[in-house]
Symmetry: C2
Subunit: 301 residues, 2 copies
DNA sequence: GCATGGCATCGGAAATCGTGATGGCGCCGA
DNA sequence: TCGGCGCCATCACGATTTCCGATGCCATGC
């Protein structure tokens, strides 16, 4: 028993004639005659009384008609639902964060994704560059914001902006900071990040160029934790300039006048998953939010 | 899109492998691969993600799975319902009556039909032999009780019993009925029936044999009406003997001691509909109630 | 009595479906 | 690192099903 049997059954019941039903179904009368016959034989029930005027539903056929229509309706719903979602992007995407939401423009990204793809489930998972990269590799994340060069061979990424880094110092240390040369800075207490963070690389670069190492006091893996400690007077730290504006204006912190190399904020994903339409949509949305041309996406070095 | 596509879809979703699904469906792996492919192409939706471990439902496929199962369930219900009623007698039958229910053993007949065929709708429609026969011919009745010879060429019938008829007279006429010869009877007032009633034929036969005609007073088409009029003293009438026992015992009526020919009570139907299973079942039930051998059914003369 | 309209049946053509073999692709263990 | 393995996609061919046109039968209506 197949759907076309049921379709024929219902049509014949509605039309009352094999001939008319055949016209409505764009086929021949013998064909639907065979459909009805096959259905009746399979079910062991005579569905119609054959009269000289046409096909009249038997009592059993009348009872079964409703269920046949229900079945066809269910099939129609199925098809309709499928058609409705044929172009719609579905699924879920897990995006790793490496810094605060405002800087990453998450609200705008979420708004854009929500408007374009209402059935897409987006999860923003807090973290850091250091944890995001391995999570990408093992599939715990689908995409992530990272800072640095993006030189992982398995990852692709696009640059969103250059982060301007500065050395921030607590106001309480201003007296000890008469000279701003590197060795003097190294002698002061530092709040440092984990080695897998791009800021750590910047710090290391600066000090290694002068063959000295900073005085490490405490490790803060999370950016806001590091910033809080700097503001609280624990020590110096490397932060994004715009992240410190408020504290600088309030006088709790000052910026050491020394130029640092910038690091790239990137949006990264597993190269081999680049063809996933969900991923492509997210990348496209990120590009839009950061006002990049779509071709700005580039393979990782 | 056919049911087997949906069946394959659901099975693959449940098994997670084309190969296993193929085993469960007793077919080959390329076959169901083609099913899935055809379904996906028709719907424009990828239902599965192909992984090295097998087939994993895509988000769209997961959403559609439930509706596919609903459709299959509806189809299964349809089949089940059909199978359940494949041997069960259904439909409706209209049976014409020509006399009182007790004499026709309607309670027993109804009980038997109800027990054997719970889905059969039975309608007993009051009437008389005279109206039942044309109603049978035009299809207003499916079967009927009639009295007489059943010589209609379109009808078949079986004899249920012989009705013993008597001439009943009101007690008030006893004085005038000293002689019981036919001419004397003809001179008395008669309650007569319509010409299409078998009793009328009996009356006519009796009087025509003696070349005289009864004094007609009033026509009573319905048996109980005739009986009531006889009891009320309106005139003589021809009735079934056992129908008058009560009135005779009560002294309201007496029986004229004259032998009358009997008429046959028959159960009749349209010959060309004799193969209708519903009709056959009803005929069989009537035979049972009247304790006839099934082969007692005979063609009309 | 003939024309009409309805369904059932039949034989051949056409499309469909199923099968077995084959190939590509990841994964895993040696 | 390299076969072996499991899995799915594809192909060509054979078998089955399906469809069509023609025909026949039957009941009805004019």
């Amino acid at each position: 028993m197949e759907l076309y049997h049921l379709k024929t059954f219902v049509t014949v019941a509605e039309e009352g004639h094999l001939t008319r039903a055949a016209e409505r179904l764009f086929t021949s009368q013998p064909a639907i005659s065979a459909h009805i016959k096959a259905l009746e034989e399979e079910l062991g029930v005579t569905l119609f009384e054959r009269t000289p005027k046409g096909m009249q539903l038997s009592p059993a056929g009348a009872q079964l008609l409703a269920q046949a229509q229900r079945t066809l309706a269910a099939a129609g719903d199925f098809k309709l639902a499928a058609r409705a979602m044929q172009d719609e992007l579905m699924g879920s995407v897990r995006i790793g964060l490496n810094t605060d939401a405002r800087f990453l423009r998450l609200v705008e990204l979420q708004a854009l994704l929500g408007a374009r793809y209402p059935r897409l489930e987006v999860a923003f998972l807090g973290g850091s560059t250091g944890v995001n990269v391995p999570n990408l590799r093992v599939g715990k994340l689908d995409a992530a914001f990272i800072s640095g060069e993006g030189d992982d061979p398995l990852l692709s990424s696009q640059v969103l902006c250059e982060e301007e880094l500065v050395i921030a110092a607590p106001a309480g240390l201003r007296d000890q900071l008469t000279a701003c040369d590197v060795p003097a800075l190294a002698a002061l207490p530092w709040v440092y990040t984990s080695p897998d963070c791009a800021h750590y690389g910047v710090m290391r670069t600066v000090f290694e160029a002068h063959c000295c190492a900073p005085e490490k006091v405490v490790l803060a893996n999370q950016e806001d934790a590091l910033r809080g400690m700097v503001e609280a007077g624990v020590g110096l730290g490397i932060v994004r300039r715009d992240d410190m504006r408020e504290a600088v204006a309030a006088g709790r912190v000052f910026i050491v006048p020394r130029q640092l190399p910038t690091v790239s904020l990137r949006f990264a994903w597993l190269t081999k998953r680049a063809n996933d339409p969900v991923l492509r949509a997210v990348i496209e949305a990120v590009s839009t939010v950061w006002q990049l041309a779509p071709e700005a996406a580039r393979e990782a070095g």
